[in-house]
Symmetry: C2
Subunit: 347 residues, 2 copies
């Protein structure tokens, strides 16, 4: 059967997500999970949905309750919302809708490595456009003819953002749609939701990070309602389950809780940034819940390995044509203290 | 942005799943949900997994615990198991792995309509091969060169099965892989798991029907380990959430509970079949948790509509080149009594 696999699938390496050890031995600062629990309302909502009738019946295919809640929160029509089994599901759906075999997917670099994998699965080419040294989009944009252009904003691993006016200019330049991946936007000072009105932009969001719900898999897209109707054709009929839908709806309805955990994470991010600089790291100014750090004087891979030995996981990343660094999630204050203490002892 | 959609997406109608009214007004006999609750162990497992730590962290990407439990149950290596967000997710993954744009997907007809939608999303052609009048696979099989051939066994809407020897012969004839969709197999007298050894067959299963877990979205595939490794490249990294994984693992570990609900459903299926025949319906001999019935003397669409007015949903289906009928899920005994009483009053 192996010989019948599509050659693009056989050839690809596959996306490698960050390590997810299933025991609690490690302090996980490698995949940008929240150090704080989800809103108490999430637990209540899941417990309420935990009935025989809800489990044995199919869920609402389009997630009407979530769409209504998200529409209210974002001040958009619920028909402009697409529910997803994590925002990866949304990115997959968009790729399948717009990118033909032999097509072209483009993203700035370094950025989220999944964009390349999505292109490869689709049998399309992938090209990246290096960020300028200060993490801006080059002008003019050199590859305007992609079938989809993915812009993570804030981006990973840098945590940096480009301005709304840069995004507007890029969307105007592009011949195909622009996907604005706002997985980390709740930690930023601004967002690009208003760009949806241009009808060239699909905004994607995740509940994994800011809402502390990586375990339940929920993301969504905001776009023109006519586009959402087409994306619904591509998604699996029942892509979100009853418990995730209940959890996600409760989570976005508790904005006060989001504000309080966000404030803690932003304060710790600032302290982590300053402390790492004090330890000799070059640290990007982050608008996300992680920081990207490098150093000129010694290889960071060794630091990653030494932290790992001390049961702290951070993400070591090495990008072709750019180089390597450590992406460190912003943990709680005590987790950050432990990280900094170990780093001081290592360095 | 609409103009950048792939033409196959624009052109397709999209799969229409059975109606899922989100209130409890209707007696739902239209989408083959179980009338019985999931195993009590499922509730325990979900409650145990409902911790801050599990919700805020990413789940195990490959579902090791589920794979181990399924491997033990089925007596296969855990590496031969692929977890899916419902078996629709599995069917999607397989299609993306094997079917190129412009490729060919084949299935007997009438059968599960999603197979055509999956082909359309992929930009591939779809052809069907009519079952023989007694619901067997034609010999010789007329289209051996498909990139994927889907065989639902038991099939929907008929509920009938083809024998393992017919499947073996077909797998031998086909040039590409055969996907044996066993969503309903727990209600049947036999299964095709042994065919996986031929390395031409991928077996898919669902927990939606026999395990009463349509709401949590869980399915899986069994195939050669080398194929599973390739399919893992295609799936979303975290396609199953922590609560679904916990629920699914607990469900398959409670085989005694499955046996008891299965026995009830099979007894009711027999009674429903006989009663409908008594009312003048032509009823297929079902190996699933639904029955397919037609009648020569009057149009069944009117019966569907009249049942709907009386708050009972069954599935009216009409297939090109075959005709129409009603697919009725096997409910509890009291639900079946209510259905039969209404049918008697209508006819």
């Amino acid at each position: 059967m192996f010989e019948y696999l599509r050659p693009n699938i056989r050839a690809m390496a596959g996306y490698t997500p960050g390590e997810q050890p299933q025991d609690a031995t490690y302090l996980k600062l490698n995949t940008n999970e929240s150090p704080y629990p989800p809103s108490p309302r999430v637990f209540e909502a899941i417990r309420s949905a935990l009935t025989s009738d809800r489990l044995r019946k199919y869920p609402d295919a389009i997630g009407s309750d979530f769409r209504r809640a998200a529409g209210k929160l974002l001040d958009v029509d619920p028909d402009c919302i697409l529910i997803g089994n994590g925002s990866d599901d949304i990115l997959t759906i968009v790729t399948r809708a717009f990118v033909p075999e032999g097509g072209l997917v483009v993203s700035p670099s370094p950025s989220y490595l999944l964009y390349r994998s999505l292109a490869e699965i689709q049998g399309a080419s992938f090209q990246n456009v290096p960020y300028t040294p200060d993490w801006q989009l080059p002008v003019p944009w050199p590859i305007p003819n992609a079938h989809v252009t993915f812009i993570a904003n804030p981006s990973s691993p840098s945590g940096t953002m480009v301005s709304r006016s840069s995004l507007e200019r890029l969307a105007h330049t592009l011949r195909g749609p622009m996907v604005l991946d706002e997985a980390y936007v709740d930690f930023a000072d601004a967002n690009g939701l208003a760009l949806v009105a241009s009808r060239k932009v699909i905004v994607t969001r995740s509940l994994s990070k800011s809402y502390a719900l990586a375990g339940i898999r929920f993301g969504y897209a905001v776009a023109d309602a006519a586009i959402i109707r087409e994306l619904i054709k591509v998604k699996d009929s029942y892509n979100c389950d009853v418990l995730s839908l209940a959890a996600a709806t409760a989570a976005i309805e508790d904005q006060e809780y989001l504000r309080s955990t966000r404030a803690q994470i932003l304060a710790t991010r600032e302290r982590l940034t300053q402390s790492l600089r004090g330890l000799g790291f070059d640290v990007c100014e982050s608008q996300a819940n992680f920081i990207w750090c490098r150093r000129a004087d010694r290889p960071v891979r060794v630091i990653y390995e030494e932290l790992r030995r001390r049961l702290i996981l951070v993400r070591y990343m090495n990008y072709d044509g750019y180089g390597d660094g450590l992406r460190i999630s912003v943990g709680s204050d005590s987790e950050t203290d432990r990280l900094l203490a170990e780093l001081r002892s290592i360095l």
